[in-house]
Symmetry: D2
């Protein structure tokens, strides 16, 4: 790969040779572990989030995803339960020993989300919300930085540079598909970026095949492909009743599909000489 002068520094392999590994209470992201973050698109009500969380914890999944504040294209769509959603996620996660991954939509909400989340997510629409990135650079929890839907690799790494340069080195990149002319899939999941990021940066990178494809049948094969290409983990949407989901139903997995996904993710991780943190016989020791 060409060796031209890079506009970023702290995120680069030249700056730090070894992979960044991010430690959480109950798992790690990066290094030998291939993580699996799962949950509904949005927290909808107590029953829904507890049911899903219980299911996931029985499967030994460590990280629960779910939206409390939802960025929706239309002002008339369901906007999330907001603070109530955060509280419900936290309660469910605490009951079942899981960590919480949830989106923070703006600077004003950083304190509130910080209180309930273990990992704060920056959504695709906010990847270049530089005030938000600066605010997140000042906290001590990990940031999951989704790629902007029309962001180049360089812009993405520079967005991460905003966070690192402010003092927070715990950044997890997340490829979630880019916007192209193709409409057969919701976005075009750009898996080539994964080995390229691995070559250019020490940061962990995961993939979101639910957002990336928008079609639940494609989630498992694309998860496998992402891991084999070098991804440090997968983030997927799962729902107890996908057909009744308030958002993103068509890309949410049914419970039985999720069990199948887990098996394939674990096999793919082992194929790539890595392990998963949910395996009963995991080779990982924390």
């Amino acid at each position: 790969m060409e060796n031209k002068r890079k506009p970023y520094q702290l995120v680069s392999r030249e700056w730090k040779k070894e992979d960044t590994v991010i430690s959480l209470k109950n798992t790690t992201i990066g290094g030998n572990n291939v993580c699996l973050i799962a949950g509904p698109c949005a927290v909808e009500n107590e029953d829904q989030i507890f049911t899903i969380c219980e299911f996931l914890s029985k499967k030994n999944i460590k990280l629960l995803r779910g939206g409390a504040y939802k960025p929706r294209t239309s002002p008339y769509s369901f906007q999330g339960l907001k603070k109530d959603g955060l509280i419900l996620m936290r309660q469910a996660a605490d009951k079942y020993g899981m960590g919480v991954v949830t989106e923070v939509m703006e600077t004003n909400l950083v304190d509130e989300v910080y209180q309930y989340a273990d990992i704060l997510q920056v959504g695709t629409r906010n990847m270049q919300n530089y005030q938000l990135l600066r605010a997140l650079s000042k906290i001590d929890k990990p940031i999951l930085l989704k790629r902007g839907m029309s962001s180049t690799l360089e812009e993405w790494l520079l967005a991460a540079e905003y966070i690192l340069s402010g003092g927070n080195e715990k950044v997890i990149l997340c490829e979630r598909g880019i916007r192209t002319f193709e409409t057969a899939t919701r976005n075009t999941l750009d898996l080539s970026i994964i080995p390229l990021v691995k070559a250019l940066s020490h940061l962990p990178i995961i993939a979101d095949p639910s957002q990336g494809t928008g079609i639940r049948e494609l989630v498992t094969p694309m998860s496998m492909a992402a891991i084999v290409a070098g991804a440090d983990g997968i983030m997927v949407e799962v729902h107890n009743h996908p057909e009744e989901a308030l958002s993103d139903g068509p890309q949410s997995l049914y419970f039985d599909q999720f069990a199948h996904l887990m098996e394939k993710v674990e096999q793919s991780a082992h194929f790539n000489n890595r392990a998963v943190d949910y395996a009963v016989d995991s080779r990982l020791v924390y």
Copy 2:
């Protein structure tokens, strides 16, 4: 044009037949007037902004654009003078009787920017920053809503719907180019969207050919084309020393180029049976 059910309502022609015209202290946007908003990409220092503002006011330009808070791809690039920049713009604009158009990058800054600006601009990276849109829906000053660089027409109109549905009907749309595979121009200025917006919505729409093309030689022809296609105005970058500009130099007009642009904008407006607010012999009376 097809008559399928639209997901937006308040911004639509069905909701309001007549064009929305936005009144400011010294001019109007929409209606018979084709406005010309001009100024530097960023406020750099007192001398720069006063020099440019004086030049523009002598040309009878009513609205000064300029960035105080700048969203920059790299954390190491000039980030704007921030509040100092706002103060300088306000002072210059007041001295020369102009209005101020400047970007507000997040909810936290709405109060501050509101204090100094006559029109608050939402940049392309924030078009889907829904918290910001909601905050701007509660103020009584006009909002210049730039199209997201990868936003569809529908997403853009829905972003405007966020502002109108919160109570602020003073929204000006601004086409500033979309991101495509073509790299000969900085963005692809999508002029077809102008008559399409005019058919679907009552809101005024202007074009930004500086951002749209990234090449100063293209600014005048594309301004003319935009007006002839129905745009309610043009927003351009002009600088006293483009070659020394701290940002966007290659797309900033020289003063003499700006004078030529004005002439062509006025002719194009008249060609389209409209007038400009800067003309000595303007047919507009305020």
Copy 3:
């Protein structure tokens, strides 16, 4: 505009300073004239093509467009009347004193199409069909070279270079929209390319707002915009019964819309200090 080394030569302004003007029996393309090429998407039957041709000739239009060999996405769609279509077009055009512009889809057909056409069109899907370009570089009739739907400016000029370097200097470029993520219009008409082509090349360039937008209501405003941006002409689809057209009905103009278009094209040409060849009081003398 930057002065980097160009990969093309014969098509460049550096190679030839003055505009290339292409002479036909009854008109010219380039120079002072803004041409208007019109006709149906496809020749469908004798009645249709003679009716349209008669209408256009009464309006003093000089060039009839129409597809005989049609590149269709599906093998089950109407594929054109082929040679019969060419013959019908030629007969209609001869009866009414017009020139014929029609697409040639491959090398094998160059001789046949050459026999009936005055201008041979290369479609968007064939812009990089280099065998075809080479074959067309050996004939003495003008070539209308449409931009590939995902071609950069440089690739397009290099496609023209294929034709010029083989000996045929009569190339007319035609911007017909590029493929982007936006689906509100059929393609994204890239008008910025027009003044850019004019700066970089001596070749005439026209625009096709029918293909470019896919919506008949947008054809007139985008024609005006293209001419004001510097286009040397417009190519549009018109049909006696658009709602019954075998292809591209929604973007075909009705006869009365076409009359309105003509007026606006002429006004736009005059606005840009140019003339149209169909005007009764044309300033052009052939």
Copy 4:
């Protein structure tokens, strides 16, 4: 996946449930076999093609790729050895017991290329060259149909439908990357399309990570990802002296990289419960 009415028929799973398997003299494409097609971008001279072919045959590779007629963006670039290239490829392939895969650029050349090739390739620029597709529908050799660089899945399947509807059922689809805004890679390899094609069509589909990424370091991880996602094979560029290649050097593998690729492709195939035809201990029996 949604069940809307498809515009194609013969290529669909509804039409034919079982996978199409294409038999060649020395191997098969589709079914249990994951094929590996390899060779230089272009045949450059006798020494080059014989050296590469000998290397590949020693590795037990069954299919040699190489361009004799090359579609080049510039008329001044190396255009391929043409018929001499075909002859050299055939001689090398015959000497070492391999099959030949090479591009046919137009109808006129179908007979000539047919004479020397075992599989005729349609390049990305010709995916919608319908005359060529029709000509290829009348021959009895397999067609490798590359996806157009801006073609949707539906357009691609309809291009295949052209070939099947004319009578040739031996079509192999090849995903080679689409054109997007991202310039970090040469194209954006769209791997999600692979499981989607598998669901919608019975045709075999392979991936070309050399064209898809343009960066040799990405070829192996993307080959692995493609196979795990369900691809029936991989097509890669390999060269004895990549740094001296007349075209596509940066994406061509060195011989030692190719050996590593083979190992990873075989492991990936086995991981997906499939086999490779080059393995000494292949589970495939022909």
